[in-house]
């Protein structure tokens, strides 16, 4: 069957190491950013989000960094585990605290965790 991420850039990481996934966004008006994880055969799953009034936000084993000056977003995964193997997408939107603005997705990065 089809696989997600066949043609996407791949990040190979040793189990236990930290992973850093980068994303460049294009719209300077975007004020809300989300990282999604997509495993084969599934829809994108929310990992962490960040608003434009922040430059860092931490979750469980994940940290998102936002640099608005250069329009760059990164996702750091601490102590990468085999279950982290998936394709990761960043997404941006201009929400202005109102529900419903469309998301624009980045190209995606496939993370492969080596045991």
């Amino acid at each position: 069957g089809e696989s997600v991420g066949l043609h996407l850039p791949t990040l190979s990481v040793q189990e236990g190491d930290n992973s850093i996934i980068n994303c460049a966004y294009s719209n300077s008006a975007s004020d809300y950013f989300i990282w999604y994880k997509q495993e084969s055969g599934k829809g994108p799953q929310f990992i962490i989000d960040i608003r434009s009034n922040m430059d860092k936000r931490q979750g469980q084993r994940v940290t998102v960094l936002l640099n608005k000056t250069v329009k760059h977003l990164s996702l750091q995964i601490a102590a990468t585990q085999p279950g982290d193997s998936a394709v990761y997408f960043c997404a941006e939107t201009n929400r202005r605290e109102a529900a419903g603005n469309k998301l624009t997705f980045g190209g995606g990065t496939r993370v492969l965790v080596k045991p």
């Binding site: 089809e2 997600v4 996407l8 994108p44 929310f46 419903g100």
Partner: protein, 115 residues
């Protein structure tokens, strides 16, 4: 967050035929979105579907090819019409959440193969 049920989960269709994909949400939502994910690619927005109004299509997508229904606040359908092999993709529905989360949830997708 909202739970989305999307069906069919996969289908193999003959060229020239049409397939209707259903998206059911367990709560009322204002905005629903339909995405296409071509093999090994990121997600591309097809259209935004609001209840009680015509869907808004993105550049490159037209209503004749991808008619959308949104009869109520918990349901939407996307039809892929007059299919060709180039329509082979994963099709995903998504909903925008309201306060306090303002996030987006995705269905598990419909994997369409056109032969």
């Amino acid at each position: 967050s909202a739970v989305i049920s999307q069906k069919p989960s996969r289908d193999i269709c003959q060229r020239g035929t049409s397939l209707t994909i259903q998206c059911q949400v367990d709560s009322q939502v204002t905005m629903m979105f339909w995405y296409r994910q071509q093999p090994g690619q990121s997600l591309t927005l097809i259209a935004t579907a609001n209840q009680g109004s015509e869907a808004t299509y993105e550049s490159g997508f037209v209503i004749d090819k991808f008619p959308i229904s949104r009869p109520n606040l918990t349901f939407s359908t996307l039809t892929v019409s007059n299919m060709s092999p180039e329509d082979s993709s994963i099709y995903l529905c998504s909903v925008a959440l309201g306060a306090p989360n303002y996030g987006y949830t995705f269905g598990s997708g419909t994997r369409l193969t056109v032969v």
